[in-house]
Every structure is written in C-alpha cells, then in structure tokens.
Subunit: 363 residues, 2 copies
DNA sequence: CACCTCGATGTTTACGTAACCATCGCTCGT
DNA sequence: ACGAGCGATGGTTACGTAAACATCGAGGTG
C-alpha cells in the first residue's frame, strides 16, 4: 500500500500543489487530512497514533483521507512535541571489526522490532563546519538512548558529547557501576576454549590476544590465564595481535617457533586464520602438531583449513539485551546499572585434537 | 567542555527547574541562552548556525552563555523549521554481507565528514505496533536522502515507503535511468580476473557466481562470460552460490570433479575460501592444479592458504560518491540520474599460476 | 547637514504535532 | 423522566527554531 501516493509525478492526477522549481510541495499535514475527513486535527492525531476513543467509522474516514492525500506524519514535529525520537544512537569507532558489525546488526534488528530506528554516531571524525566556529552539528543527535560499543574510558574521552539525560548502554566494557553493561561472557568463553584443550590432554595452552586496549581482549586473556592457573598449568607469555588475520600470522610465526607448544587459544577467528597459515607454512600440521581454538564463530570459520574449533558468541542476544535495557530506561525514565553477561558456547570442529607424540618435540 | 553541565544532579547549585520524579528538566533553549547573554533569540540562532553578521564581542558573549548553560540545539525544532534533518537513510536487507557492511561504513564516514549522520532503515521487519491499526512509525523516517544498497526491484517491492521527494541513490543495481546509481564496475572487475587467468595460459575459466537475484553477481557473471567469448574461449556452465563460504565449498566440490578445470573465478572472497577448501580436500593443489581468483579483497584474503589473488573493490570510493550525489541532490533540490562506476583493480597473490602439465588431466 | 546605505540586532510568525481541557450527545440508573 | 456519567470529538496552546521583516545607529555622500 502507499504505492499510489509514492510518486507524485507518475500518477495520473497532477499534484494540486505547486511543484515548480525549488518551491517544495509543502507536505500534507494533519490539518489537511482533518479538512478532507471532516474532523478535527486532534482526531487525526489520535488515529495516527492508534489511540483509543475514536469510533470505527470516523477512524475509517480519517484513514481513507490519509491514503488519499498521501499523508505521512512529520517526525520532527512529533519529536518536538513529545520529546521522543523513537531512535537509538549507536556509537562506535569502526564498523570494520566483525564483532562491532554483528552487534550493530543485532541491535538494529532488535530495535526495529520495537519500532525504533538506529542512528550511527560517528566518532572522532573532524567535521568541516568546525571552521565556522559554531557548535558541531553532530552534538544535537536526535536519539532517545545511546548504545556505546567501546571501552568506557574511550567513551569518556570521545569527542561526542552525549545527550544529557539519555540512557546509555555499554558493550565491551566494564563499568557496570556507572552504566548498564551488556556483554558476551568473555572469561567464560575463554575458559571453555582452554578447558577443551586441557581436556584433550595438552600440557598448557598459548594465547594470541587482541589489542591491549580492548576490554574484550583483556577479558579473554584473563579467562585464559585464570583457567590455566586453576589447573596448575604453566602460563606462557601472552602474544598480542590487533584482531587482523595479518597480525595473527605474525603471532603464528612466534607460536610455530615454540616447539613445545601444542595448543593455542586465539582471541578471534580472523587472527586464528593467520595463525593457521603461519603454522602451515612452518610445517606444523593443525591439529596434529598444534591445536587451535578461535573466538567469535564467524560464518567462515567452518570453511577454514581445517574447519576451526571456536567459541560462539551470541551477538543476537547481546543486541536484544542492549535494546531491551535501553528501551526500558527510556520508557520508565530511569537509569539502570549493572552488568549482563551473555553465555557463549564452544563449537568443536577439526582444528583441535589430542597432542601427538611427535618425536620432533623436545622433552 | 560541557562536562560541568552534563549532570544536573551533580552540580553544586541545584537546578532552578523542577527535576522531581518524571518531570524532566526541560532542556535549555535558545531563549534561555538569549536571556543570559542579553541578546535576542535570533542572534543566538545566528551564532549557533555560524551565520555572519554577528559582531565578535556579541558572538563571544553568546558562546559563553551557551557553554555556561550547557545549551544544545534541539534538532527536532530545527528540522521542523528548516525541513532538513542532516541525516541520510541507508536502506539494506542485511549487514551480514561484507559488501553491504563495508559500503555502509564508507557511507557513514563520508557523510560524517559533511556533518551528516546515518540512519539505518530496516526492511521487512514486522513491527509490533501493526496490531494497533496505525500507520507504521517506520514510515516517518527523518532523512533528507536515501541510499539503497539493493536491487531496484527489491527496493520497489520493499515494505518501506520512502519519503516522497527525497533523493535516492542506489548501489548494487542498474536503473540509472530512474535514480542516481553508484556501483563498483563489476564487469570490468570480472574482466580483470578472467584476463589474468587467460594471460597465465589457462584454456578457459570456470565461474562460481553469487545468487541469481543479486545484481552484483549478475554483473560479475556477465563480465566473465563476455571476456571468455571475446577471447573465443569455451564458456563452462555457471555455478551459483549464495555468497557464503559454505556454498563456496559445495561449488568447489563440483569444480574439483571437473578434471579439465584449471582456473576458477569466484564471485566473492568468502566463497573462494570454501572453494579452496574443497579443492584441497579433493587433493587438487592451489595454484598448481587449479588457480583461483576471488572478488572483494577482504582483509583476510591475504591470509588464505594460499593467499588469494582477488579483485579489489574500492568501497570507500563508492561510499564517497554515494554521499556526494545524495548531498548534491539535497542541496540543489534536484534529481540526478545516471550510473557512476567505480574502478576495481586486481591484487595478485599466490592462488594463481600458469596451468601445470599434470598428466592426470586429459587432453 | 540632511539623507541614504548598510551592518548589527530585535520582533514576529509559522513549522506540525499532541497534551490538556472543554463540549456535546447519548445511555443508564433510579 | 431526568441528571449523572461517560465516550467521542473539538478548540487551544506550546514545543524550539529560523525565515522574513523591522529597527536602530553609524558612517559616507551630496
């Protein structure tokens, strides 16, 4: 429906308003609909918002008039009056990491189900109009709530100033004492990965971590360390990558040089790909010589060579809970704190096996 | 800056307005700033928008008052008055394909540079308030322009009704006769891939395509077919995947069964990963027995085993041109048509080589 | 020296909506 | 039968901003 009013040029009947050069047609307003339907603008408002207290016949008349005129509510006016935008802002540094992207996707889907749209809040992008000496336009973000996918201290330092009073939900951070925090249970995920390798009989497990300033990376490294210590195992030095496959390759070379190493837990699947390649190039077979467990369970993980055993992150659930918390705060005009952890689970594929008795390996 | 006014509760001086339960503090408006600065609201407006015609001393006084009160422009009121939202809507079905995601990222970055934010327009998501018999809230999208990342016929069929009169830019589609279309030069990219393989001495090139309803997939398949025919080569049957590595694996098994096949052009890098694995499992070495060229040049492509030769898509440039066209239309209140193609280039890595003289392969 | 011009600033108004309150007409209870 | 009560609808107003127009004062020109 609505197609017949979609294109004012294509329709048989020419638009009644001036469409001439530059003079925009001035959108159909409630008053127009009210006039055609023979009711007051207020009744149109009630119908438009689905409020009760409008008799069926009147409602039909209004809806017909709306269709006829191609009426569309003016969200600016509505927002001005109601103070609500039906919009959630998502603030992040980059879309180019799988985790951010999938979290965003989940948030958008979940929000849409509640009738909320998503605005991307760009960060640290120098705007051109700064030269005009005016306040930055990006400060006026028309959002009812904000979901930040970043470490809290980065959020604090960010150049955006959040709308005061707007609820904030944070992903990928601690600080549950200040905001509502939703996150994957990084430590538990790491534990699942490490325990799986220990159960297979590996003496210890190496770790290729993400960048040091990432809270997710820290959480996974902590979980790895804690699990090893809890089992009384030796804790090898941490190797830090930057989430990229390329950095995984570099760390993989380091791992390959450690002839003792029979098992590696890699903090994300992209780096795991690089580790696999490095091991392969160095003649160390996966999983015969070295077992690998990744993190994320990206769609491609099942197509690695060999298919990657990895910790599955439930991004959809993270998104759902973010939106749920944000909207709860918006609707009750309250402020939530505390941390919600979303469970992970291990997906066992072919990159892990018991350690072999390879005579090459010393001691 | 702004931190001192960020939290009305924390400050020493209690807010002069009622902050009680539910009664929100009513934001600082231009009138408030004007009163404090001792000027008219209009002058505040001029300063806020960076308009000329305000003397330096007055401007300073206003800016000081703004800072003092923690003033933030009300975008709803601004949009209501000006009719502009400084917002671009991006409409797409899913974020879960690399191409969509990277295009979105590029658009967001490019838009931010111009002071525009991005709203994600979800498609075909059933909303809860449909039960209320009201118009869907998602129809009121507050955007000045729309970028659609999808085939045009899908856009037409989509459940969203675009704001009438708003400029539309389309990616991944033909229909330059109706809209402004920006896209990667799929055919040329395919040509580069196929020509590279032919130049290496391969007799012909097989093709693992994307889904049939994708315009990008069609464009790449057409480019492949045209290049082969142009060189008088045999055109093998097209194999269709769905962009996923898993589907690439399935098609890879089919390719591996074709003992004649020495070269494959795969329509994206994820599927190429699957093809690699299938060939590997079937004992056909890459690139010795079969050469592979992918499409996209995702960051992981260099970490495949072997590193993948692929066609690089310049997503950033696509995003830039989308935003440029959209904003040009917004600012001049015009309607652009025509197609802009963004060049691709071949990135040669290790998955391609001249065909070997493997005796297994018949004549 | 009166007048004109132009730059700086103020005043008025309308943008489209929804909350609030008023009004109107009907039904139900006694 | 008549008023209370209630459901349906209308009238008024304010949300915060920016365009259009008005005003005011200073400096230049004849």
């Amino acid at each position: 429906m609505g197609a017949e009013a979609e294109d004012t040029h294509a329709d048989g009947a020419p638009d009644t308003r001036a469409v001439g050069s530059g003079g925009r047609p001035r959108r159909v307003s409630m008053a127009d609909v009210a006039r055609v339907a023979g009711v007051s603008p207020q009744t149109v408002s009630r119908v438009s918002n689905g409020y009760p207290g409008v008799v069926e016949s009147t409602r039909d008349r209004v809806l017909t008039a709306m269709r006829e005129l191609g009426y569309r509510p003016n969200s600016a006016a509505r927002a001005l009056k109601s103070g609500r935008f039906r919009m959630i802002g998502v603030i992040l540094f980059t879309l180019s990491t799988t985790g951010n992207m999938r979290t965003l996707d989940a948030i958008a889907t979940s929000a849409a189900r509640e009738g909320y749209a998503i605005t991307l809040i760009p960060v640290a992008v120098p705007t051109q109009d700064s030269v005009r000496g005016a306040f930055t336009r990006l400060g006026e973000l028309a959002v009812d709530a904000v979901v930040a996918i970043m470490e809290v201290h980065l959020l604090d330092a960010a150049t955006v100033s959040l709308p005061p009073g707007a609820p904030v939900v944070v992903v990928d951070s601690k600080a549950g004492d200040r905001y509502s925090v939703v996150d994957t249970d990084q430590a538990e995920g790491a534990r699942q990965a490490v325990q799986h390798l220990l159960d297979l009989g590996h003496r210890t497990v190496w770790h290729v971590a993400g960048p040091e300033d990432s809270f997710a990376a820290q959480g996974r490294a902590d979980g790895w360390r804690t699990t090893l210590k809890g089992s009384g195992r030796e804790v090898p030095p941490v190797l830090h990558g930057d989430w990229s496959a390329e950095s995984g390759y570099e760390m993989g070379l380091r791992v390959a040089a450690e002839r003792d190493c029979t098992a590696v837990f890699v903090a994300n699947d992209q780096m795991a790909l690089g580790v696999q390649r490095a091991l392969h190039e160095q003649g160390r077979a996966v999983p015969r010589d070295v077992s690998i467990v990744g993190f994320d369970d990206i769609p491609e993980a099942g197509s690695y060579m060999p298919p990657l055993t990895t910790v599955h992150q439930d991004f959809d659930e993270v998104g759902r809970r973010c939106v749920a918390s944000a909207l709860r705060q918006v609707q009750t005009d309250s402020h939530e704190r505390g941390t919600t952890l979303v469970p992970t689970w291990l997906v066992v594929r072919n990159s892990t096996a018991p350690p072999s008795d390879d005579p090459l390996r010393g001691s």
